[in-house]
Amino acid sequence: MHRLASLRSVASRCVGVVRNVHTSAADYRIPTKENVAAFRTLLDDDASALMQGKSDLEHRNVDWTHHYKGQSELLLKPSTAAQISKILVYCNEHRIPIVTQAGKTGLVGGSVPMGQEVILSTERLNHIHGIDSSGILKSQAGCILQDLQTYCAERSFLFPVDLGAKGTCQIGGNVATNAGGQYYYRYGSIAANLLGMEVVLADGRILQCRSNIKDNTGYKVHQMFVGSEGTLGIITEVSFLCPPLPTSKQAVFLACRTYSDVLKVMKEAKSSLGEVMAAFEWMDQAIVRLVDERHVRCPLPIHDEYRYFLLIETHGSNEHHDLEKMEGFLDKLLSNAAVADGVLAQDLTQMQSFWKLRESANPVMAGAGYTYKYDVSLPIECFEEFAEHMKQHLTACLVVHGDWGHILDGNLHFNVCTPGVTTVDEQVLARLEPYLFEQVMLRNGSISAEHGLGQSKNKYLTMVHDEATLVTMRQVKRLFDPNCILNPGKYLPVA
């Protein structure tokens, strides 16, 4: 017997009007004992593929930031696309909502239930099929990003995506969120490198994976699922184009006194390093100090006058050539006094220690207290001005700040933390939202550069898109998931 938590969705379905396409989390159907038995059969009676019980599923219900907690009591771990297809057919028929969960490293609460949705984990789809001589890699969607990177590197290819969560996140999740990461500037977006995918639709149809470097054979349907955060379908296979592994990698860690110096360094880097530049990360003194105190030592002394720190990495095919370029670049920086200090990595271990510092920014801040995270796109010249403006706006609050970002992409990670306090402070939140987003929009930025929308930012989409665009988005959702069983309550604003 099915229970309905609200009559609203029934009413709209009866009337046939597409007004309330995106139902809220309240309109879910809780799986019954019969549903559970059916799922067990659909999972070929593998007892280990199904887990029940709120206490056992506690950590599956809480997102990485600990901002969101769901109430799911059922977790499914299918091993094949065929199983996923049968599960979705069943859920679609019985109106049981599903949240697809990969590595659960997302920062907008997109992969945890909001109520008692069934959690469908892709972790068992972890087979790497192979990579061919032109660098086309095919794998299942549940492969961990770092495993793909290692697999490619062993065969002299570079997997073009890298981010701090690499040890846990799965490629299906990365595709579903169109993850950015540190090499976006050099190797491009996931959308650019993804050749094709296999995806299961809400009604169980499986769309096959294509994998040619060039393929203009119709609407690029698979691109619809990139960044769709599990709301249009469940990705089960991916194919990526991987460039050759760079044989030469160089990295510098620099300290700048002012933001205008940072801009000078960026301009010089683009001109001197040119085609070998691979990553350019920016951090403010506050976050570097915090990481240095708690986790990873900074390779440079953190003098008061060092307001900003930069990590620049180059990738190339000739060590000697790249070192010459790097030394020319550093020479120019020193003669222009654009940097106050800096170190050049002499081996891979030193290079990895730079990245360890940078990649610790997120977890260290999260460990200090409840962190309000904002991932925005802004004109690069505005980073400091925007950050100072927001800090002024928050002077009455007892918070610490830490900013970092992929500055070449115009992507700022603005973070506010209540030290020692691990629960949300509604006053701080009210002071931040929607004011921060308004300030971003005023500067022609984006309220979510790479982290996506999830349940954290969907409500602000009306600030971002015109009505026509929003209506079109809702129509797309209705086309792919008419019964709204895939990740309800997220991504699009709940009407």
């Binding site: 060590e319 030394e327 020193l334 170190v343 002499q346 990895q352």
Partner: protein, 254 residues
């Protein structure tokens, strides 16, 4: 005191070494200064900064890319470099510690060095032979696996780490050879101003054949292979199954 420091160019510590063509693959593989040599350089530079040494000379043996390794040593604070040029493989496949020690002996005599600091071993060959061979050739005292080094009025007080504990040795005679172990110090990063200064420091190139040393290997490398891959662990379903496997498969229970 004049110090001579050995800096070896080896496959980078972070690289996963592979076998190709019956030997270790070096093509397109990242190479960097041997981590133990970094520690030796750091110690030498500290001795100079504390006014116990007036000159630190870095030596590297190998192909032309060794000048990059020497530049790192110079950027860390060495005064000048000597590049002994050879295209022989220096990872034990061709040039071996006995010949290397003879090369160092010639340089020590030329430079009149008082203290020779080298890494305890190369991470490619893992021999640890060069230091002891050199001390023997020079008839000099040697302290290997140094974990602490102090200058005192008698000379050098060195602590060395062994499997059975720490030995403290007073070095009273020079030249002396000290090989450096992990706990001796934490090497500094090469900072920008020092990297630029290093470009102006002199590096002398000498051909290995011109030193009058017999470079032929004494040991023939017969085979190089990767270790067998680690067998995957298994997850057992119950304590009984675990005991059964420990008894009958792993045979560690009676």
């Amino acid at each position: 005191m004049k110090i001579l420091v050995g800096v070896k160019r080896v496959v980078d510590y972070a690289v996963k070494v592979r076998v190709a063509g019956g030997t270790v693959e070096l093509n397109n593989v990242k190479q960097s200064m041997n981590p133990f040599c970094e520690i030796a350089v750091e110690e030498a530079v500290r001795l100079k900064e504390n006014k116990h040494a007036d000159e630190v000379v870095a030596v590297s043996i190998g192909p032309k890319q060794c000048t990059e390794t020497l530049r790192t040593a110079l950027a860390m604070g060495c005064d000048r470099g000597i590049h002994v040029m050879t295209d022989m493989r220096t990872d034990y496949m061709q040039l071996q510690p006995f010949a290397v020690a003879h090369i160092f002996q010639k340089l020590v005599e030329k430079e009149q060095s008082d203290l020779i600091l080298v890494g305890k071993q190369g991470i490619d060959s893992d021999c640890g032979h060069t230091g002891p061979f050199l001390a023997g050739l020079l008839n000099a005292p040697q302290v290997t696996f140094a974990a602490k080094l102090q200058v005192n009025d008698k000379g050098l007080l060195v602590e060395r780490e062994t499997d059975s504990g720490t030995e403290t040795i007073q070095v009273k005679q020079f030249p002396a050879v000290v090989t450096c172990d992990l706990r001796l110090n934490e090497p500094r990063y090469a900072t920008l101003p020092n990297i630029m200064k290093a470009k102006k420091k002199p590096v002398e190139t000498i051909k290995a054949e011109d030193l009058g040393v017999d470079l032929t290997p004494l040991v023939e490398v017969v085979e190089v292979m990767e270790p067998p891959p680690r067998k995957e662990g298994i997850i057992v379903g119950s304590v009984d199954e675990l005991i059964d496997k420990l008894r009958n498969e792993a045979k560690v229970l009676k």
